[in-house]
């Protein structure tokens, strides 16, 4: 049994310890946000936050997460109440197929929680690990810039864990 803290909830899961976090999120917790793109840490479609830091969940063994909180795009808001980045992505219609987008949002979230007013170059360098094949880059950048202009995003803070 592995204990995993995801989006503020604790889960006890019967999974092989070497299972990449991505498969646990998608298959055991039935979360759609993190996507399988390459399984090799080359595209960022699977990006989630572990303890506030962006990781490639396709490579990250679930047993290495330990007590650190995991956050996926589902934690940022809902269709009815989207979080700041989600709202900015909707406002800018920063989606073509959208397959890369949840990963984009999570990587951007990590930056905006730690850096108050990142420069354009900082944003681009930070987003560099994530690929978008549709070429939605201009809109993704515009959405991130808009949220960045509002100052630092609050982090998840101390994780409220409900079992």
């Amino acid at each position: 049994m592995i204990e995993l803290h995801v989006n503020g909830e604790a889960h006890r899961l019967d999974v092989a310890p070497e299972t990449p976090l991505l498969y646990v999120l998608r298959d055991d917790l039935k979360l759609n946000g993190a996507k399988f793109g390459c399984g090799m840490g080359q595209c960022g479609a699977c990006t989630v936050l572990v303890d506030g830091r962006p990781v490639f969940s396709c490579l990250f063994p679930v047993s290495s997460v330990g007590a650190r909180p995991v956050r996926t795009v589902e934690s940022l808001g809902t269709v009815e109440r989207p979080g700041p980045l989600q709202k900015a992505f909707i406002d800018h219609q920063a989606v073509q197929c959208g397959y890369c987008i949840a990963g984009m949002i999570m990587r951007a979230q990590a930056l905006l929680e730690t850096v108050a007013h990142p420069s354009e170059q900082q944003i681009r360098e930070h987003m560099s690990p994530n690929l978008c094949r549709c070429g939605t880059h201009m809109r993704i950048l515009a959405a991130i810039r808009e949220v960045a202009a509002q100052g630092r995003l609050p982090g998840a803070g101390p994780q409220k864990v409900s079992a």
Partner: protein, 761 residues
């Protein structure tokens, strides 16, 4: 122009003994439609007199159904990430005078929707949107007439408000009430009641896309997100290359792995099914290790592919346009000399392009279940009906026992692994009755097994008089097919791998004026004599098929390079030189608009290492117009090329969703710059060698353009013209033209800016 001797097509030649010309027919827009003929998207034309895709599905209630549950509009087109679902919905909403949320909109399901063939070639709005536009207008009129009879007032005294018909005296009928007793099962009319574009609430407005909220919040949005009760996870093991034969595989150890339900081995086909996804991945890896293969052929490399294209078996399709009349295409049994051109060529230029991949960020995936004699497949295919036909033929099922339902995948940009993955799921589900099966390809499988975008070669000679006026134009190109769609079961990779393989149907190019490898090879410019020789290479070293803009990408690069070179030769501004050769007012307008907005004057003072480039094309000479001006920065030290700013001016007829159009143009510019600057499939003796994103690098954020400005010319009341592919050619050509201005040399091989590019020397 010198041409290599191409082998002739023996069978055909015998058939038409002695004749050089095999087929010859005038090709001009809609005149091409004949009843019974297949259109270029694999659907059969039944009613050539009707607008758009009403030609292939002329019955109104195939598109619009009204019953007690309300109004349902159906489209056979699919959402590929371009926003067409929303755009088609908008068209229906305005023409039915109903708010979006008040009716149901269903797309691409063989059990429910019209067969509109493939969603491809920028036909969705032009054909599918036009069909809905007219069907909805005609149904609206029928409802008004029925309401008039029911209320005993003239139809012209009735008003439509949000799905309710209102009489002057205040009496109302809902559409459902009005539709009672109305038979929508009738043939559409060639002419529809007029619509007033000024009353549109949706068409022409930047309506937010209906699919985006779920996609940014983790909603179930893709076939990858489907989780059916009792679903098994499957992974396939593919041969190391297309020629490889399975010598041996010991499956016992894999079968004993935790969660493994079964291993499927049939000829060269290998797959594993497991209870859990990660178990399937591990079992796939073990199975791959256990398999012994023998490759039976060697493949050309990146250095030899272009010579190989000239030497491989090929047919020749010649397209001519004389006196700026219609284009004519004929298939030649053997190469013949082009008719004598007026003088030695004024200019010769040619390009080589390497294989590229569609490279969907999400590798192909499908879910299928075989239950009670019915096989259902959820797939991100571009064509549920052609896929169903291929699967039915392959599995020996009647079509009515097979249902293909489109569910979105990652963007595909053409024929990628979608159909093949659907075939994997269909086969494995068919052999595992009662349990749903989800197949997900791995990244390396998508990269190695998707149909590639073809490597190509072009050679162009242009002839001008002393004043620089173009007189003649000779363009030759070499390519494998761009349209290996599912016309038979053999077009599906899994069907080729089984112990009893199905052979692929013979290749055939999409004819002009749409074109295949020769797409956009006929310039829109006024030239008295134009001839394009397409060397259609029928023996493919690598399987290739449709990728956004087909040959248009490299053909526009070639044409627009020639225009720049000629302008320079005659001391003219490139924009002015293009305008001088254009009669089409809409073409002239986008060029002028792009130039004005960009501040093009041919002699900008720019920082060191910067240069500007211009290019234009009308996609397929039939669809949207696009002119692009851009400024590029070449930094040799950093080994980088970046678009500093790009201005695009586009005219796609009546704009349905301006933000959707802008999104497509921005995305097209970014994607085409990635293809043009960085992309090539690495090939070698053993086949495809680039199977991940490090061996096939694409554009990343730091390399994205600094700014893109899209200027849209709206034409209310005009036909919808396809938009999604129009930026691919002009972006690439403008980049090449800008590099020439910076370095003084025209790069003739794509990609331009890989790390080892001579550009940085």
């Amino acid at each position: 122009m010198k041409r290599s001797d191409a082998p002739i097509d023996q069978g055909r030649r015998a058939f038409l003994a002695g004749s050089g010309l095999m087929v010859s027919f005038a090709l001009l827009g809609s005149w091409r439609a004949f009843a019974g003929q297949e259109n270029t998207l694999g659907a059969t034309i039944l009613a050539p007199d009707l607008p758009g895709d009403l030609k292939i599905e002329p019955v109104l209630d195939a598109w619009i159904k009204i019953d007690a549950r309300g109004v349902t509009v159906c489209s056979g087109k699919v959402e590929l990430g371009t926003g067409v679902r929303t755009a088609l919905w908008q068209v229906a909403a305005d023409q039915l005078a109903m708010p979006l949320e008040r009716f149901t909109f269903v797309t691409a399901d063989t059990a429910l929707t019209p067969d509109e063939g493939y969603t491809a070639g920028s036909h969705t709005m032009a054909d599918g949107g036009t069909a809905i536009y007219h069907a909805a207008a005609q149904v609206r009129q029928m409802l008004l007439d029925a309401a008039a009879a029911k209320l005993g007032v003239p139809a012209r005294e009735l008003a439509l408000h949000d799905g309710v018909i209102v009489a002057a005296d205040g009496r109302q009928l809902t559409y459902e009430q009005a539709a009672e007793g109305v038979d929508l099962h009738q043939r559409a009319k060639p002419v529809s009641p007029d619509s007033d574009p000024s009353t549109f609430r949706y068409i022409g407005h930047a309506i937010p896309r209906v699919d985006i909220p779920a996609k940014v919040t983790g909603g179930a949005a893709y076939v990858q997100d489907m989780r059916l009760e009792g679903m098994l996870h499957a992974r396939v093991v593919r041969p190391p290359d297309a020629s490889a034969q399975l010598e041996s595989v010991d499956t016992r150890a894999v079968e004993a792995m935790p969660g493994v339900v079964k291993v499927v081995r049939d000829g060269n086909y290998l797959a594993v099914l497991a209870e859990r996804e990660w178990q399937a991945v591990q079992a796939m890896r073990a199975l791959r290790e256990a398999a012994r293969w023998r490759s039976t052929r060697r493949y050309p490399g990146n250095d030899t592919i272009h010579a190989a294209l000239k030497a491989l078996p090929q047919r020749i399709y010649v397209t001519t346009r004389e006196g700026n009349g219609p284009v004519r295409q004929s298939q030649h049994a053997a190469p013949d000399a082009a008719p004598a051109a007026p003088s030695p060529a004024t200019l010769s230029v040619g390009f080589g392009k390497q294989y590229v991949i569609h490279g969907s960020i999400g590798p192909s995936c499908a879910v299928a279940v075989y239950r009670d004699g019915m096989l259902t497949v959820w797939t991100h295919t571009q064509g549920v009906f052609p896929l169903r036909a291929g699967l039915a033929e392959w599995l020996g099922l009647p079509k009515d026992k097979l249902r293909c339902i489109h569910v979105e995948g990652a963007g595909c940009y053409g024929h990628n692994g979608a159909d093949d993955a659907a075939a994997d799921a269909a086969l494995l589900a068919f052999r595992t009755p009662g349990r749903p099966v989800r197949v997900q390809w791995m990244r390396d499988q998508e990269a190695a097994w998707e149909p590639l975008g073809p490597a190509m070669l072009t050679e162009l000679e242009a002839f001008a008089d002393e004043a620089g006026q173009l007189q003649a134009w000779r363009h030759a190109l070499w390519s494998t097919p761009h349209n290996e769609r599912i016309v038979n079961a053999g077009r599906l990779i899994p069907a080729r791998l089984l112990a009893r393989p199905v052979a692929s149907a013979p290749s055939a190019p999409i004819p002009q004026p749409e074109g295949d490898a020769d797409r956009n090879a006929v310039p829109l410019y006024r030239i008295p004599s134009v001839r394009v020789d397409m060397h259609f290479v029928t023996e493919m070293p690598f399987r290739t098929s449709a990728m956004r803009s087909l040959g248009g990408h490299i053909n526009v690069v070639t044409i627009e390079s020639a225009m720049d070179e000629l302008a320079e030769r005659f001391g003219q501004d490139p924009v002015a030189y293009r305008l001088r050769h254009l009669d089409d007012a809409r073409a002239r307008e986008v060029i002028q608009r792009a130039a004005d907005r960009f501040g093009w004057n041919g002699g900008q003072a720019l920082p060191d290492g910067h240069g500007v480039g211009f290019a234009f094309s009308q996609y397929k000479n039939l669809m949207g117009y696009c002119a692009i001006a851009l400024e590029v920065k070449l930094d040799k030290q950093a080994r980088s090329v970046q678009i500093v700013r790009a201005v695009a001016a586009v005219d796609c007829g009546q704009i349905v969703n301006p933000d959707g159009l802008r999104n497509q143009i921005e995305g097209g510019i970014v994607q085409s710059s990635s293809w043009t600057l960085y992309e090539q499939v690495l090939i070698g003796e053993g086949g495809v060698r680039s199977v991940d994103w490090s061996s096939y690098p694409i554009l990343r954020f730091p390399q994205a353009p600094v700014a893109i400005d899209v200027q849209m010319i709206d034409r209310p009341g005009h036909a919808f013209l396809g938009a999604a592919e129009i930026a691919q050619g002009p972006t690439a050509a403008a980049l090449v033209n800008a590099i020439k201005r910076i370095t003084g040399h025209r790069p003739l091989h794509l990609p331009l800016a890989r790390q080892d590019s001579p550009l940085f020397a």
